[in-house]
């Protein structure tokens, strides 16, 4: 293992041209915050783009600037890790609409005030357009691979469908080619919680020093449940009480699971912008790769020459195995080389971020295959 720091300081690109959006609008002066690790080789063909999930960011293996916690995928990315920075040049960019450095609703609009709800509604494909512009500026024509879990997987699939020659391989973990009614429903609960908070002020809360923290934390609590498995929650908390011997016959957090969720909700508000949460969840809800391609998912990949790998987890009920299998079948029908495996892991949707040794082997094997 290298002991020298592998971290390049966080970087940012300001796009020279307006970024066209699916909504028909366009955005001027978009800034894309990103990090890179490892070294781009002379042939410029060893780059891997890692795409992040809903509340993720570009701090892949470097500490989060606000929380100080280790990067979100330190267990997967680094020297000698499955995504090996001794071998690959790894790029991770904060998505359009987010709040961690890339332009989003909390950014300043041309009139000098925060965008708020004036920010255009964006899509997964818009995020991908941002990534591709970044690749252009880095001089990377063809990626060795794109790797993403959850919403990161949606970006990977969108890139595969819309920018066919930009990557040789796509690794899509715990993801889907379209948001289901249930996915949209959970997101709508979160959005309504934010918008029902008086402190939201129609999204124009930035000058008040206080946002809709209550609403955002409820949104996070609801979402967090969908990231875990029932068995995982039972094992971690069961019906155990929080620092007390008896139920209080009140509405304090009697149960450990309540206390845990409240903490998750509250700590989330320290690091995330409520409007960004609205915009990114909307982008995910709008995602339907088949719809973009005449209703046939296989058509989305026609003409591609890439390799694909889909991984699902048996306890993930947010993007269950059937969604990954659906993508694998479409890729099969398109005649493309595709791998698909449902791994067993107890952590629900969050399994892609946690200790699942079989995932490490699959990732290393898939990326290591030279072509």
């Amino acid at each position: 293992m290298a002991t020298s720091p592998i971290i390049d300081a966080s970087k940012a690109l300001t796009l020279p041209e307006p970024l066209p959006l699916d909504s028909g609008r366009s955005l001027d002066g978009v800034r894309i915050a990103y990090e890179s690790y490892g070294t781009l080789n002379a042939a410029r063909d060893n780059a891997i783009l890692v795409t992040h999930a809903l509340t993720g960011d570009h701090h892949l293996v470097s500490p989060h600037p606000k929380t100080g916690k280790p990067g979100w995928w330190v267990r997967m990315v680094g020297p000698g890790k499955p995504i090996d920075t001794n071998r690959f040049f790894v790029v991770c960019a904060n998505v359009l609409g987010s709040c961690m450095g890339t332009t989003g609703p909390a950014s300043i609009a041309p009139d000098g005030k925060p965008w708020g709800m004036r920010f255009p509604v964006i899509t997964i494909r818009d995020m991908v357009r941002g990534h591709v512009t970044l690749l252009d500026s880095l001089g990377i024509q063809t990626l060795h691979a794109v790797v993403g879990g959850s919403m990161g997987g949606m970006q990977a699939l969108s890139l595969a469908a819309n920018f066919k020659d930009r990557a040789k391989a796509f690794l899509v973990i715990a993801s889907t080619a379209r948001h289901s009614a249930q996915n949209i429903a959970f997101h709508e609960v979160g959005r309504q919680a934010i918008m029902a908070d008086p402190a939201w002020r129609e999204g124009d809360y930035y000058s008040y020093g206080k946002g809709p923290e209550k609403g955002l934390s409820v949104a996070r609590m609801a979402a967090h449940i969908t990231y875990l498995s029932e068995a995982g929650l039972t094992e971690k908390f069961g019906r155990r009480l929080q620092d007390r011997a008896e139920k209080t016959f009140g509405f304090d957090a009697d149960f450990q699971v309540e206390s845990y969720l409240r903490y998750q909700g509250l700590s989330f508000t320290d690091r995330f912008d409520a409007n960004a949460y609205l915009y990114i969840t909307r982008a995910m809800d709008y995602f339907d790769l088949a719809e973009e391609h005449g209703g046939m998912l296989a058509n989305a990949f026609a003409g591609s020459r890439a390799r694909f790998c889909l991984v699902s987890f048996d306890t993930d009920w947010l993007y269950p195995t059937a969604e990954s299998r659906n993508v694998a079948h479409a890729l099969t029908a398109a005649g493309l080389p595709v791998s698909f495996v449902e791994l067993s892991a107890p952590f629900g949707h969050d399994s892609f971020l946690l200790d699942v040794p079989a995932l490490d082997r699959v990732v290393a094997g898939f990326l290591g295959e030279a072509r």
Partner: protein, 195 residues
């Protein structure tokens, strides 16, 4: 690494550079051999997740799936050879799986244990019990082999379906044996089929 005898027969008779789909590819031994030694575009399907993970870790393109259900998604005539080794007898509908193989592949290799091998016959005759042999090592109540067939059964089925037997190989132990009295003497059969 040495391939299982029936897989070695298949590997020897696949053209270099061919496109392959191995249905029930296990840990990917045949796929890896065909890729590394014959430059094949070798892909697989396998029902067991641990095996699929092993295949992907070896850099193979393998999709987790069930031969009875998931072959329908493969395009017609998309490979030169569809391979089904020691899997036919585990499927719900061997006849339909065979039709799928010959829809997807221009040719199909099918290998299976011969239930009419003399050891099986004598075991059934003398003990009156379902045989447990080297190739069929699991007791009847827990075996994945739900559709045992004999060489003659198989020939009857392909004939009735208008499928052509291009070539057949028979194995006793780890060695090939002659087609003469194969129904009785072969532990294992490998057929190359086409329409």
């Amino acid at each position: 690494m040495t391939l299982r005898p029936d897989l070695a027969v298949i590997a020897d008779n696949v053209a270099s550079g061919a496109r392959i789909l191995d249905v029930g590819c296990g840990d990917g031994a045949l796929l890896a051999a065909l890729r590394d030694q014959k430059g094949c575009d070798a892909r697989g399907m396998e029902i067991d997740a641990a095996n699929v993970a092993e295949c992907v870790a070896r850099g193979l393109s393998v999709i987790q799936g069930d031969a009875d259900k998931d072959l329908a998604f493969f395009p017609e005539a998309s490979v030169d050879y569809a391979i089904l080794s020691q899997t036919l007898q585990t499927t719900m509908r061997p006849d339909q799986v065979l039709e799928q193989l010959l829809r997807i592949g221009r040719r199909a290799f099918v290998s299976f244990p011969n239930f009419a091998h003399w050891k099986v016959r004598t075991s059934l005759l003398w003990t009156g019990r379902m045989p447990v042999t080297r190739l069929l090592p699991v007791a009847w109540y827990e075996t994945p082999n739900i559709h045992h067939a004999t060489v003659n059964d198989f020939r009857d089925m392909v004939k009735a379906r208008g499928i052509k037997v291009e070539q057949a190989w028979f194995l006793r132990g780890d060695r090939q044996c002659s087609a003469a009295a194969a129904s009785f003497r072969a532990e294992h059969a490998v057929f190359l089929l086409s329409r």
